[in-house]
Symmetry: C2
Subunit: 305 residues, 2 copies
């Protein structure tokens, strides 16, 4: 079971080396992360994009391109389709966004011929190691699904449980979060949380333990949970998956953690046939490398499924 | 201008000593905070409640009751009314919740004869000093207003600007937060944020600078704001007031800060004629003392208004 990002890296190093296919690879921060991932034996890469520009950036980064396969394609969307097809065809293990807008990138992910759709809604998971918290936390959805319905939330949980399993967490605890711990009919987040809890008890959401609504302290802080007297709770400050009521709550917590706490984090898109890495320009270098490591772990798990 | 809680305490110490009226004062954690506030010359207290029980708790706390006025009233709601009337009549400067449920306490705040209503909606503000952030942050609303309308948000801003002013921040910067920085008609939080910004530009929300929608990093992190290129922004990581889209987002961020970052914080209810202190049992000792200090600063400002 991975409790820290270093555990994930060790897990990666014990498997066969995975390969990331980069769409429109002429992107300096992405190439820098790809280079570090290679050096740290986290993953190899196939670079699809404008070869001349890739070479130019690689020279700046002191990056030896002889170690990488490069596929020259100057049209951005064609490059994306070629890159995603490499993953679709099993020639690469995961798909990563380079210098292409998010909308076009996601379109390529969902392409019927070359893409990675899995008949499930896509969702986003951000994995955090936080100083003072004794386990990895899986935050979802902080970037992709805006206002998930109850049905969407079930899909998000299923997607994220798969990622937890890949990280060695067999029966993750899922906390549907809200401002309060009791159901209030005027707060849909609490109604949904109670319904998800019931569905899990009835076996409709397998492979995990759902307990909500939960406030953040009851979800992540064992002392707070003990102090509030949480005898009847299945989660007492030991949640693995933090399920947010909507994208505002999720994203605001996500960025609060990044900017005020001591953290390491990485993120991927889930619900696809293979891991999809969509880091944003505001993510720092280590976050990009961690995201590739997370993708490798998930790719290994999906391969063995 | 106060940038830290110590600045607020200094501000308190430079004014005449304020007095807090405690409703149903037989509450150990509240008495402990009241005792510390007295010792640190932050505020005196009048204790209204069951005198016998107050004496019992005081003995345990090694608290010299001869330094406090005690009003014996064993009926809880009567005790609350007597305590709030002390503030209403100017015999005390702020009102604090003891061992009484929140609903009854708020009923006493809103009592037409003895209460502190001000013809404005009440809102809650939580003031944070966060390691790595160079100024106090005023989070609202994380505990009281659930799903504020645009009109409610205007009131929340007005209430919170008053608190900022009391803390020496003359023209606070208000960030209406969301997951994204651009208006999306499908996200009401972003629509409201843009509307609040416009209203402020038109002079309809005076005494502050509103700029939204803003993501958390653009609101509190100057480096992130610079990195994202925020030339046309009035707020570049230097917000004072963080206005949340709803109570879930606010409360989840609030508890994330308390449990993962290095912080000091205090909170009060605003929109009343005098400060109202409603700490929860999950607030730690220092938070309660900080809340009394905040109340003292606000009481001084309201007196001089």
């Amino acid at each position: 079971m991975s409790r820290k990002f270093d555990d994930l890296i060790s897990k990666v190093n014990s498997c066969s080396t995975k390969t990331v296919a980069v769409a429109v690879a002429q992107d300096a921060p992405v190439l820098e992360a790809v280079k570090a991932a290679k050096e740290r034996k986290i993953a190899n890469a196939i670079l699809v994009g404008d070869e001349a520009k890739i070479k130019e950036i690689a020279a700046d980064l002191d990056m030896d391109l002889s170690e990488y396969e490069i596929i020259n394609e100057t049209d951005d969307y064609e490059a994306a389709l070629k890159a995603v097809k490499l993953v679709h065809d099993g020639k690469a293990d995961m798909y990563m966004k380079g210098l292409i807008d998010t909308k076009s990138f996601l379109k390529s992910v969902l392409d019927k011929e070359a893409g990675l759709r899995n008949n499930r809604p896509l969702s986003h998971v951000c994995v955090f190691e936080i100083e003072g918290v004794d386990k990895l936390l899986f935050l979802t959805d902080v970037a992709f699904m805006t206002y998930p319905t109850l049905e969407d939330k079930v899909s998000i949980i299923e997607n994220t449980v798969e990622i937890c399993n890949a990280c060695g967490i067999d029966m993750p605890k899922v906390a549907p979060l809200a401002a309060v711990e009791v159901v209030n009919p005027k707060m849909q987040a609490t109604v949904d949380a109670a319904e998800l809890t019931k569905m899990c008890e009835e076996g409709k959401i397998p492979g995990c333990i759902v307990d909500g609504p939960l406030s953040m302290d009851l979800a992540i802080c064992p002392e707070a949970a003990a102090h509030k007297g949480a005898e009847n709770r299945k989660i007492v400050g030991d949640a693995d998956i933090l399920l947010f009521p909507d994208i505002h709550a999720g994203n605001l917590v996500y960025k609060t953690l990044v900017h005020t706490a001591k953290v390491k984090n990485g993120n991927i898109i889930t619900g696809t046939k293979a891991p999809v890495i969509l880091t944003s320009r505001s993510d720092d270098f280590e976050t990009k490398v961690n995201s590739i490591a997370l993708g490798s772990v998930v790719a290994e798990a999906l391969r063995n499924k």
